[in-house]
């Protein structure tokens, strides 16, 4: 299962803090997952904002990567410190 975490204002965009789901049919990369979530949750491209970072298993990724279907994925708006 894929665990997806939405932080900061993205939580409001997605209407949820986190969700756990099986990779949808035909979705095998981060980029296609983001596109799928965009439609599914009516995110209006919020995940594609260049300031939003993506972590897979708590590691920052910069390029598209393949997903096995057992990852923890975090979407991070700009961090502002405490």
């Amino acid at each position: 299962m894929i665990k997806i975490l939405y932080f900061g204002r993205l939580r409001e965009n997605a209407g949820r803090r986190e969700e756990t789901l099986a990779l949808p049919d035909g979705i095998v990369t981060i980029s296609s997952l983001k596109q799928w979530l965009n439609t599914e949750h009516e995110l209006d491209g919020a995940l594609d904002d260049p300031s939003v970072k993506t972590m897979v298993n708590q590691m920052l990724i910069h390029d598209d990567i393949d997903l096995s279907g057992n990852e923890e994925i975090g979407f991070l708006p700009p961090v502002g410190g405490g």
Binding site: F7, G80, G81, G82
Partner: protein, 147 residues
């Protein structure tokens, strides 16, 4: 010691324990950040962390501080969740033989915590609720350490 907690904490009790454990350090510097009311405009501050990632980032900053200055001990306590005005947000304590190291390390860690640390901040006040972006001044502070 790094502690990220969504429960209110007492900085002076934490300092007492830290000081007792570091009687041999000549210099102990602390910094306490409290929720400001911004002239009555702020009622509540809410901080969100990414469990695991936030702490790993702080641990990395502590390691860098220890590599850069001769430190006896470091303590970082950071609140998350909803906090009212006057509540403690962050408490950083550094112990060293000499005061210069203690001051610089505490200052350095606070700059990290206020600019780069993995937190999302929401303010509730008279202007409604809004997510806060970092101030450019904070970035400037942090750049002090890069040379």
């Amino acid at each position: 010691m790094i502690k990220i907690t969504d429960i209110s904490f007492n900085p002076t009790a934490e300092l007492e324990a830290f000081t007792n454990a570091n009687r041999d350090a000549g210099a102990i510097t602390s910094f306490l950040g409290q929720v400001r009311d911004e002239d009555g405009c702020v009622n509540e501050l809410y901080l969100e962390q990414y469990p695991g990632v936030t702490e790993a980032g702080i641990a990395d900053a502590v390691s860098k501080a220890k590599a850069r200055w001769s430190l006896t001990s470091v303590m970082v306590i950071h609140r998350t969740g909803a906090m009212g005005v006057g509540e403690a947000i962050v408490f950083v304590v550094t112990a060293a033989k000499h005061r210069r190291a203690a001051f610089l390390a505490c200052d350095y860690l606070m700059d990290y915590l206020k600019t780069e640390a993995v937190f999302w901040k929401r303010q509730k006040g008279t202007n409604g609720t809004e997510w806060i972006e970092p101030r450019s001044e904070d970035y400037k502070d942090n750049k002090r350490w890069s040379t």
